[in-house]
Amino acid sequence: MVKKKHMSNILIALLAILVLVFLYLPIVIVIVYAFNADTVNCFPMNGFSLKWFQVMAENKDLILALEHSLIIAVVSTLIACILGVPGAYAMYCYNFPGKELLNRIVMLPLILPGILTGIAMLTFFKALGVTQGMTAVILGHSTFLIATVLPQVYARLRRMDHNIIEAAQDLGATGFQTFVHIILPNVKTAIISSALLSFTLSMDEIPVTYFLNGVFSTLPIQIWGMTRNGITPEVNAISSIIFAVSLVAILISNMLNKED
């Protein structure tokens, strides 16, 4: 009996490892090749080297694209938080018909195919007179990043004890004081976690950006362009860095979400 159980445990473990390998082997290969001393991606490698990271750092276009991406990610994450957090609070405080529906609709940009969102925004921004470029991309990203911030913060608010808001007012706090001293600290982790997620989402967003960027490039678009003539080791290098940063961000985001 014991042995049988042991066997099935091993089988399950093996299966799990296989799935993980299938999911992550490509990424591992990219990371390994990033340290390859050779110019072509092939095994066995001819030694360990950091030269592709240097090549990457010297690629002016790539670094410029990285700068663009960072600016876009930081600014649109900020906008998403500045609009999304009070938005979630307003939704929490006031009851109005169709509130739950709105909560779903806000999520739409995350669910809809990026192409659709991209076309929609391009048309809309054109109508508004916003030309393609950095501003358009930031506006576009902010819109769909609100979709990650607002529902997460709203969900956290709903798990909070509603009575503490009345308690704060009863103790003399104004609406603004209540928001700053009671609401914000209690949803702090939800805000940080959704901001981190927003940041990574913005950093590797292609479809919406592609419609709105006009002439300038962002990191994922630049990389995509570079791979058209085959994958070069410097792409492996930049990909490894993106992977590491995203991993850390998502791990922190998960940890914060679990906290309560």
Binding site: N163, Q169, L171, G172
Partner: protein, 348 residues
């Protein structure tokens, strides 16, 4: 003699089509411990929420110290509330929870420290000052909730079933503590409970509420011994009710004539007698005694609770120490004529 601190005048309140409170008026005296007592859903919380400002009456006035409160926001009213769920701020320590209101009002730092220390001592919380609420027991959280309000020196402290979540022993202990604290500070307490025993122990005056109406206001002794309505008599303690007619010092119940020293309304059609005021006699000592049969004897410690059945089948409860009482025994009942209360039957 005493000053009136809170006046509720002709309050009306409904939620949608459901009328919760209809034309209720009430005065709370300065420094008293007033309890709102009533069954679940009778509007106790609603009433408190009109005093602390989280609900607005549809009609009527709420006055505090003579000042109309209706247009004043909750955070500007000089009353504080101890919520049923305590509603402590989970991200703040006990000390920070207590400091909160003073900080919001931008009170001077030294004064904050002084006042918080004072309240911590009063509520015996000094040792717990740096803990978060999540790491406190129910009784301790309760004390923090009270301390957090008291530090404000409110004119009135509203308490909404503050002991509801505690076990019986702690409840009894906290009742005494609450009462002592209130006496010492002289702050007016408006206390909500649906526990009649608690109300009788703790209050200076009790307001008995039923379906948003005041059934009776009075001191605990008065409420218990001279209930004005059938509802009050049955809600506070236990009572036996006899339907009949009152005439010249005699209450006619069927063929029986029960002598009553008039107490209550003259056109009474209901007689209320508490179990402790029914005498059980083994022999027919009085002409008017009611014949009954013992159907159940429950040992209560100091006394026995006797369930009896009258000849017409009506059940009656009495208390007695007589040892010979056992199931099936025939006995005769007489009532303390001074302790019988005459009432009018209420529509239910």
């Amino acid at each position: 003699m005493e000053k009136t601190l809170i006046q509720l005048e002709h309050i009306h309140k409904s939620y949608g089509k459901q009328t919760i409170i209809e034309d209720l008026s009430l005065e709370v005296r300065d420094g008293e411990f007033l309890t709102l007592l009533g069954p679940s859903g009778c509007g106790k919380t609603t009433l408190l929420r009109m005093i602390n400002g989280f609900e607005t009456p549809d009609k009527g006035e709420v006055l505090l110290d003579g000042v109309n409160q209706v247009a004043i926001q909750p955070n500007k009213r000089e009353v504080n509330t101890v919520f049923q769920s305590y509603a402590l701020f989970p991200h703040l320590t006990v000390r920070e929870n207590i400091e909160f209101s003073l900080k919001m009002k931008k009170v001077d730092k030294n004064e904050i420290k002084e006042r918080v220390d004072e309240v911590l001592e009063l509520t015996n919380l000094e040792a717990l000052a740096s803990r978060k609420p999540g790491k406190l027991s129910g009784g301790q959280q309760q004390r923090v909730a009270i301390a957090r309000s008291l530090v404000n020196k409110p004119k009135v402290l509203l308490l909404d079933e503050p002991l509801g979540a505690l076990d019986l022993k702690l409840r009894k202990q906290m009742q005494i503590e609450l009462k002592k604290m209130q006496r010492r500070l002289g702050i007016t307490y408006v206390y909500v409970t649906h526990d009649q025993e608690e109300a009788l122990t703790i209050s200076d005056r009790i307001v008995v509420l039923n379906k948003g109406n005041i059934e009776q206001i009075g001191e605990p002794f008065e409420i218990y011994h001279s209930p004005k309505t059938e509802f009050v008599a049955s809600f506070l303690g236990e009572s036996n009710f006899f339907e009949g007619k009152y005439e010249n010092g005699v209450f006619h119940y069927g063929d029986a004539k029960i002598p009553v020293e008039a107490n209550g309304t003259k056109d009474a059609n209901l007689l209320s007698v508490r179990p402790e005021y029914i005498n059980i006699n083994l022999g027919k000592t009085e002409e008017n005694a009611l014949e009954a049969m013992v159907t159940e004897v429950t040992y209560l410690g100091q006394t026995n609770r006797i369930e009896l059945k009258l000849k017409d089948g009506k059940k009656v409860y009495a208390l007695s120490e007589i040892e010979e009482l056992e199931k099936g025994k025939k006995v005769f009942l007489t009532f303390h004529s001074k302790e019988c209360t005459l009432l009018k039957k209420q529509e239910q």
